[in-house]
Assembly symmetry: C2
């Protein structure tokens, strides 16, 4: 155990809790909705607010970084220990759209505390989880008597995450030197539940494409020609049907190339989580589970690659009927990728497979629209162990391990900076990200503060830089 | 051969040709577009014009029959021979929409003769082919010296064919007694080509349905849940893929029940037609043929039942991507049916098959939106032989036999009246039905007149009523 006295940290947090929540409420009042152009000024105001707040916290450097879209905020607080590792915290200061009439019980940009919950758009996703790093680093300093953090601490808080991070990778590439780090800590995720603190060890990657099939040069009469020419809507359906084999495995040759299989240890760890399939199905608003044979539901969404239809269309979709052979049809597919898979290799495999499926007389156009690499931190990585230890001290409970089924810009940081990505989040599934009445549990938020107050010291102690 | 002197018929037609074309032009100037509400008065005017014209022709009865939509015209001219068969001619007086800016070289409702062609909306579909019955019956009377036709002649000319004949079946049912006939002659089709006069012996039937599959209660995140719940877009694609087997035969159990297979004789007759696959493909605006193994293209479109996707849709179809598992997906299917198939039986077969395909967790809703029975006249039917003989005399060429791949309200007449349906049409594929610059070949139009001038005598001679 570290020598940092936990009680000193807790006392500091308790003393500064009210001011911290006031600051958070002030930030939450700025409707920094990146998807809505009429909020562009608010997003800029949010960046300015955060940069000022980080300066106030003590970061010697806190800058607003412009992009062709919304600005990001970068801050840096070097350690006085030159051998300390460098950690880059990632988060975002933009939020999803929200309006009272969407079903909010109060104004989404007028924070309100009900019981132990702070309700506002962005409370959990992601302003609360960004801001806990400010009080966290102050508590770390106060409890240790340090004047600089035990690690070289950097923050990069982007302003377009809720809009797909269109300029994020370019921003990271441009500033790669200033962003250089030994580890990236993403504070934009959650944990298993109120009772089960967890650390996420990876996210799936993503490759997305649209396949358009062209048959007749225009819609043609199904009576005059039907049954004697290839129908692109039928062809697109047969393509989709061929995506999976009878075990619900993706049937594209080469798709699984390089996949890092789940270790027995990780399967055990997943199995230890208090998983309730009925509850999961309710969250999924679905009526049955279905997926690759030989894997549990959690393994399927966290650790297995998938091929999913996001949209399909062709021909007449209006009311009533129209007896045509449609001229074209399309399908939008997304492939979730796991560690070891290369989006470029997957793209090649999909192209070769699709072109081979399409019957004579049908022309095939495939467009790949985006790719995100998977990321995975090995269970024995020293930084991961530090995060789990710090979290365990804060929550006074054993910490378990999860993964995320989704994909995020964190992968760009891993990619460009060559640093492992760790996830430190205290949000819980009931927080209602992107939904009305988004909230953050105040107890958990302060556990987040406390975790970071322990983390920097633990990291510096157990993971000396370049020995 | 009938004793009607062909030269007398030809002379009569030649003498009255100019007046006939003037009448046709007058009718074509009425824009009787049934699909456009602002032309409702024109459709009524067209019905009134036709009823008056039929009176002028000599029909003792010519009435406008109201429907909840556009009116039909009924006319009757009994024969003085009580044992003569009764023939009901079917056609329609409404037309497809047309506007100069669609690509017409002249005003669509201002008929113009260029060379041997009369251009106007409705010239071939169907006013020209309705009106040739007026000059035809006059020529028949003039050449035979009769004062009444050799058959009991009835006409039913509907006003909503181009709008899907929504009130036609009810109209026929209401007036079934007055419409009673031994045979129905449909003059709303065409022949193989200018050089190859043909008689159509059947049309395919039609059963249409929409299948909607419901998965999650709303679109859900493909990262959080993808790969572990059933996707309705995937399910709909798999359903469509299962429609056909590897021989492109419909794979729905029971679908082919009752199908009257093509006879060797009819396959020979089809094979005798001067079929050019390249030309057919150009008309189909398609780039390959594809269909049920063991059948030629003509056999596939004329004499084999099909399952065709008219539309498919589900999930996100806009620009870019959206990583969801969609909440629902749908497909619109149409089944062309051939003689011997029963639309109700097909509906039952499709429902049983679809419900059995759908995976657990997906709810299936099937709506059948319309059904038309197939019709087929046996090659040895005496009335069919009369039509072929009359056409052969007019065209001075052997007459061949075709079928139509499409489906039409003629089947309702066959159904309600219990009478065989015959097709007498002189339109050719180049006439441009529903397209800009629709035209009718004047020579062929007058061959149509001549055919009907011979037909009534031939029928009365070879097909005595109730012997």
């Amino acid at each position: 155990m570290s020598q940092t006295p936990d009680s000193a940290v807790r006392t500091y947090i308790e003393q500064h809790r009210a001011a911290f929540l006031d600051d958070l409420a002030e930030w939450l009042r700025i409707p920094s909705v990146s998807a809505q152009p009429d909020h562009a000024a608010d997003v800029r105001r949010s960046a300015d607010w955060l940069a000022a707040q980080l300066k106030k916290t003590g970061f010697p450097t806190a800058e607003v970084w412009q992009t062709p879209g919304a600005p990001a905020v970068f801050a840096e607080w070097p350690s006085d220990d030159p051998q300390a590792p460098t950690v880059l915290v990632y988060g975002h200061h933009d939020v999803q759209p929200a309006a009272r009439e969407d079903g909010w019980d109060s104004e989404p940009f007028e924070p309100v505390v009900r019981g132990n919950r702070l309700h506002a758009r962005g409370a959990a996703d992601d302003k609360g989880q960004v801001l806990f790093h400010t009080l966290g680093v102050r508590a770390h300093l106060a409890a240790t008597g340090r004047t600089t953090p035990a690690v070289h601490l950097k923050l990069l808080i982007e302003g377009e995450e809720e809009s797909g991070s269109p300029h994020f990778r370019a921003l990271v590439e441009r500033h790669a030197e200033r962003l250089a780090a030994d580890a990236v800590i993403v504070s934009d995720t959650g944990m298993w539940s109120e009772d089960t603190p967890t650390v996420c060890t990876g996210m799936r990657g993503l490759a997305e494409c649209e396949i358009r099939l062209y048959g007749p040069d225009q819609d043609i009469h199904s009576g005059s020609f039907g049954g004697a020419v290839p129908n692109p809507a039928t062809a697109v359906a047969r393509l989709v049907a061929a995506l999976h084999d009878e075990h619900a495995r993706v049937a594209i040759p080469g798709f699984y190339d390089g996949v890092i299989e789940l270790s027995d240890r990780e399967r055990e760890l997943f199995a230890e989580l208090p998983f309730d399939e009925g509850q999961w199905l309710r969250a999924a608003k679905s009526h049955a589970t279905r997926g690759e044979a030989g894997y549990t539901t959690l393994e399927r969404v966290w650790a297995r690659p998938t091929a999913e239809v996001n949209g399909i269309g062709g021909g007449y979709q209006g009311p009533g009927s129209k007896t045509i052979v449609p001229s074209s049809a399309m399908v939008k597919l997304s492939f979730r990728l796991v560690a070891g898979q290369d989006p470029d290799h997957v793209e090649k495999a999909v192209r070769a497979w699709a072109e081979q499926q399409v019957p004579a007389g049908i022309r095939c156009e495939i467009t790949f629209t985006g790719a995100t690499r998977p990321c995975l931190t090995p269970l024995d990585h020293p930084a991961l162990k530090s995060v789990a230890r710090a979290m365990g001290r804060a929550f006074e409970k054993p910490v378990r391990f999860t993964r995320e089924g989704g994909s995020g810009p964190a992968a760009d940081l891993q990619d460009v900076l060559g640093a492992p990505v760790l996830f430190l989040g205290i949000s819980v599934p009931s927080d209602g990200w992107h939904a009305p009445n988004e909230k953050v549990e105040l107890d958990l938020l302060l556990k987040g503060v406390e975790t970071t107050a322990y983390l920097w010291g633990d990291l510096a102690e157990h993971w000396r830089h370049a020995p």
